[in-house]
Symmetry: C3
Subunit: 352 residues, 3 copies
């Protein structure tokens, strides 16, 4: 399109006016992109740790589900095909759904559940920005609490605050718990009397979790998402963490912590300024969440490894020869162009 | 800065005026009203949902107990008659009890428990303002956790902050959990090994809860009260909520959330600006709190219904023909003159 | 006030000097003291309440372990001798361990565990200031959750904020829970299915806890430490508490509460201005935490006693003739010179 100088000047003038009014930011249609995605819900078998498998209804066959990474104001279209034998929906936790309440994904309240074999297309604007997530809203006591039906939805702000521009490494951590007695009985479980005995970070329990690899000078953003049924009290060693945002919204007065309590559904964004080379634990301080079944030193534990410290030289380090699986925190995907990203780290296998 | 005598005198005068006005506010006796109430503690049978009944020691035969709605600085007299066969007290959670520690309602610490058949009169000043509550302090592991001995105490501030004057709808939500194996055994239960299997909002579980009916433009205040034994992670769809107050005290820097974690005894006041017509879920994101016994899609769930959306037209909506019971959140009572208000929505029947 | 140019210049000069001195404070090496301590880990039997004993691996034979009270910037050396038959470490929760990550006390990540009979010396700088704690990091599901392996580490700031100078009484409260079925089986327990049935404040359950004795005008600091496996919702009657610090860091905008939710590993410092003489309950509002086994009115409960109220005159007060054990909250030790302090209140006996 060729634009004559007069029109250009006129537009520029209008833009300046609008910007002055702040209206520019609100007028999302001028900037919005339409992003179309397809997702499936599949009968899947995931492995939590070692030989402990679990039957799930995973999005695209993985738990966590694929990363949806978009910009504030984008128009999303997500076609969801239910390939399982039970009804499901997707609720986009944190999305305001202004004017689109029927896209909110609550069965028998905003839509009929998506029947087996059917496809439903969600259409909504990505608003507001921040660390959001999505999950099924049918029988949440089972589907969300124990069948791995959740994934991250990251909405970048249109005009990122200064601190967000500083970030050099970006990690997503989704927490959940599992009741192994129901592991092979999809469609059942999540009832009073259940005893969770496996506890996972992005669907895996220690030692099958992965380290965060950073270096001095990094500004690390860690996005905590309470995806499961239980609380988690996350402690990160060797650093003070700035609690930057809650539920996607930056706090007016950030606080500094070394331990943060996270409830189901809540999200916290932490900023860690990497200034202390070492190998540092990251774990749930709810002590019973650090077992795998009856074995201690499992569950929700991982480490931060500074590249200044060669891990192979640390004779005592149990992960010194660990097989590193990248993108375990979607840290690679978050650097890719906006869109939908799967991670091989989370893939299960089709249920038999 | 040099100040000439005239300006100094003028300033001093202004200060004295301001100080007088300030003192006036502090001098509560000039404004206080004495409010006298009578309450009973009764052997009651309440219904949590469907056919699930529970033996309680309810205040005035209802759970939650009657709303006490007063103004900061009022002198309260509450005569409490214990009509059950077990000892009880009332603790006024949040009241400072300045100079009246023997009115604090703790058995064997501030008073002997009220014996069966006896009446004790609590006399204290309503201070400070905010969302408060009352509950028995005898054997709290049973009486508070499972026998419905709690109700709301709302103390209006004498000089309400601007935001409180904006409020057009005011709702009270009290959360609790129940162990059905003890349902018919009053005087027992609340012990290690108990498994809560019913979870209620104002004493009822979904689908026997009630919707919040609001309209665009409303400024909705939602008062969350952790009345029971468990935590709750309350998620409200389609809106960002301002966390306005904690334990009755306005926060110096309110934060915005979509999910809020609430511990036993805690209160949060949320402000929701109704700008998004639709039908919106309100529920506990602790997934296991959304069952009734072993049945999913129960427990702590309700909806917000905007009057702009005719619910009868929504074919998929499970509550489209619901029998609406008003005052389920004391929303009608809160508009009445100050005093004590019962709600028919919470009434049980006398125990046999 | 009129200021002549000379005085102004003099003031500016003084300010620059003071500012330089302020920088000096940051140069901690100039002020740091080296503090050397020796600690043992011992097979111990503690008594939680009445006749309920528990086998622990206690630091110096007591739970909580000895108070370490130091100043920000001090160089600590703690020689830890493991006298038990199982491996252990000490993690110094909250310490940044700048440049000393191998002193962080995590087995197989920062060091090999300390084998039975061996001694390991931790050397690190006390940084940052605040309410910190230490605990074993081996098999935390058992050792921390149920074997009493924790104690307080208080790091005074070099330049205390004004409010900290006002403090007249200083109390430490460490919360934990216990599963009595494992009480006599050290090296086992802390597994899914466990049901905690004892709940303690500084290792004791009511009525074997101790009151806080204060007087009008006191500025009371209460340091809450989530030392165990469960959450606690601490309610203090008759006062509004200022939440002064979280994890040792003063909050930018303190909030006022009457109830505070505390997760495992978290610390909150509360400031209570003693202005309301009486006898006041302090207790966990998670109701099930106020039992001893199956008996109600136990667990995490105590009182604040104002000396203006003679407790012996309160006929109804169950503690009116209580045998007072001092230093139950390290309130005496915190007034002593910096160093390591044991408290007779917490001593167990050697395991047979």
């Amino acid at each position: 399109m060729v634009m004559n100088p007069y029109r250009l000047r006129k537009r520029l003038f209008a833009f300046i006016l609008a910007a002055s009014a702040g209206l520019c930011v609100l007028d999302s249609s001028a900037w919005a992109e339409t992003r179309k995605f397809s997702m499936t819900i599949e009968d899947t078998v995931v492995t939590l740790v070692d030989k402990q498998t679990f039957r799930t209804f995973s999005f695209n066959g993985q738990t966590p589900g694929p990363l949806l990474h978009v910009t504030e104001g984008d128009d999303l279209e997500v076609a969801v095909e239910n390939q399982t034998t039970l009804p499901h929906t997707i609720h986009w936790h944190g999305m305001l759904q202004r004017g689109t309440w029927k896209m909110d994904g609550v069965p028998d309240a905003t839509q009929p559940a998506i029947a087996p074999g059917e496809t439903f297309t969600y259409r909504f604007k990505a608003e507001p920005s921040g660390t959001m997530w999505y999950h099924c809203h049918v029988n949440v006591n089972e589907h969300v609490a124990m069948r791995g039906m959740w994934g991250p939805l990251i909405v970048d702000p249109k005009t990122p605050p200064a601190i967000e521009k500083e970030v050099t490494k970006d990690y997503i951590m989704m927490f959940s718990s599992w009741v192994s007695s129901w592991s092979q009985k999809p469609g059942q479980g999540g009832i009073p009397g259940d005893e969770a005995d496996y506890f996972t970070l992005n669907g895996k329990a220690f030692p099958d979790t992965q380290p965060l690899r950073i270096k001095q000078g990094d500004v690390v953003r860690i996005r905590l998402i309470g995806a499961g049924d239980e609380l988690h009290s996350i402690h990160i060693h060797g650093h003070l963490l700035e609690v930057y945002a809650k539920d996607g919204r930056p706090l007016p007065n950030p606080i500094m912590v070394d331990t943060i309590l996270l409830g189901p559904g809540e999200r916290y964004d932490l900023i860690l300024r990497a200034d202390n080379p070492g190998i540092w634990m990251v774990h749930d301080h709810i002590d019973r969440h650090t077992v795998n079944g009856k074995s201690p030193m499992g569950g929700i534990m991982t480490t931060i490894e500074y590249e200044e410290i060669p891990v192979k030289d640390q004779a005592f380090y149990s992960w010194k020869n660990k097989n590193f699986v990248p993108d375990f925190f979607y840290e690679e995907s978050l650097k890719k162009p906006l869109g939908m990203h799967e991670s091989a780290a989370f893939k299960g296998v089709p249920a038999p």
